[in-house]
Symmetry: C2
Subunit: 295 residues, 2 copies
């Protein structure tokens, strides 16, 4: 089946399937084809539907965007593995199954850990890297959920979506208003939404997060091996993965820019979707030979 | 005398003069007129000629750019005052003498201190603020020149311009090559260059820097009063005004974005001129009502 990519958007892109590594991966693909596609890696318990259409369609204006559910998530078959390395191996299998030899990779939160491991394991597959609201191995407060995250994820919400107002946005009035706008946007896709994730997802992802966050010697040394140009973006007030972890990523990656947005928590790219799309698109469109530092 | 602004560039803009506060200010004005002009505030011992034409002409593609020498500097008459507050008062007098009611302000290093004080003293005059390679009152390592800065400014250079290779760029090969390209660019203007600054400039500026950097109680509190949207930019390896000071500015300004560039020292905007021009132009062109956080 051939699908004309430019016809589709976040709201209309059909869920497609591809088999790899014994898993049937669900994915959606849309945007301007012909360049290096951008593969998005989702956060804890999220599905393809949790991406903000303002962000995905914004990025898709200048490049092809590929959303997918990793193994065991929602419409994708298989089991969620209990390590980030295995999640990354599954992501690599998915990308290769699409016949792609080079991609740009964006990872948000847990997806940012997967993006790092994917880049380490498959350096030739990854051209450029965007790390959103994420952190390094053994990052500050990453050995378990932060106290703030435990409280937020442990609370009861009359409207389940309101969880995300706490996870992604600060308590300020402006940020909460941006959050409510985001909730509307991410619920806007009416047809063929992803099923919610099963009860097996969170425990396995938490186990993987705990292994990643565990203390170890010279924890940030591995980042030196990621030579790809990277863009690290976060809110200045991230209580889910503390913002300082974005600074650590920037300091230890050989060629990374850092952008922090004001009055913003874990989902800064949903609070400033136009601004983020512009920064990300600039970064992804930069000529590789210019202005890229190598130590 | 009417000068057609769009005819001129960094290289050809004539040095003009305007009188205010008993000072004859030298300035150059070029770029796309009709919007809010951008006024640039220069670093320690620098003149209008030290700006990078790739940066100034890049910014001038979308807005009017105004370079000037503050009191006592090079082609401007008067005495360099020994406090940042007085420098800011002179900058305000200059801007008002041009008949401007609203400007955007960019300050680099010492110029970034002046930009902060100017914004505090004249909040209605300043619409948006770009702070480059600079820091807050009582910032880390700002009570005097840093040890690195003392060494760099105290050393002898066979070619005097080579000072700037040390001040603005890291020791890496890539950064030094970018530095040599910058030196060529800032020497490219052949006609009507500014005279070098007199021997009185450095001591007065150092005194002003020391007062600004002196320890005090709650040193960063004053930043809460700067409500203007701000963009803070620095290299990740600034040894002249430590990069952490850019993080402090972002944390304490109510509405600031932070961008750090990799493998870059004090002059990161000269190492990545195209990238910086894009980030700065995006920031200055953002609609005020959208995506701007207020606490």
């Amino acid at each position: 089946m051939t699908i004309s990519m430019t016809q589709h958007s976040h709201q209309t892109a059909p869920t497609q399937f591809v088999d790899a590594a014994g898993i049937r991966f669900a994915y959606r693909r849309f945007g301007k084809s012909g360049g290096v596609p951008l593969v998005l890696n989702m956060h804890f318990t999220g599905t393809m539907d949790h991406w903000d259409p303002l962000v995905t369609d914004g990025l898709a204006a200048t490049r092809e965007v590929i959303l997918f559910n990793n193994a065991g998530i929602s419409s994708t078959s298989g089991k969620v593995p209990a390590s980030v390395e295995e999640m990354a191996a599954n992501a690599a299998a998915f990308i290769k199954a699409l016949g792609l030899a080079t991609v740009d990779v964006l990872g948000f939160s847990l997806g940012g850990l997967v993006a790092q491991e994917l880049t380490l394991a498959e350096p030739k597959l990854v051209r450029r890297l965007i790390l959103l609201g994420t952190g390094p191995r053994s990052g500050e407060g990453m050995v378990s959920l932060t106290p703030e995250a435990q409280k937020i994820f442990g609370a009861h919400y009359d409207e389940p979506d309101h969880l995300w107002l706490k996870v992604f946005f600060t308590p300020s009035e402006v940020s909460q208003a941006a959050g409510r706008a985001y909730l509307k946007r991410f619920r806007a896709r009416a047809d063929n939404r992803d099923p919610e994730v099963s009860d097996q997802v969170a425990p396995a992802q938490l186990e993987a997060l705990a292994k990643w966050g565990a203390p170890r010697e010279n924890p940030f040394e591995y980042l030196k091996a990621i030579a790809q140009p990277a863009l690290v973006v976060n809110g200045d007030s991230d209580v889910i993965i503390y913002s300082v972890n974005s600074c650590i990523l920037q300091q230890h990656l050989p060629n990374a820019q850092l952008i922090l947005y004001p009055d913003a928590n874990h989902g800064s790219q949903y609070q400033y979707p136009e601004r983020f799309v512009q920064h990300a698109s600039l970064f992804l469109s930069e000529a590789d030979a210019r202005g890229s530092a190598r130590r």
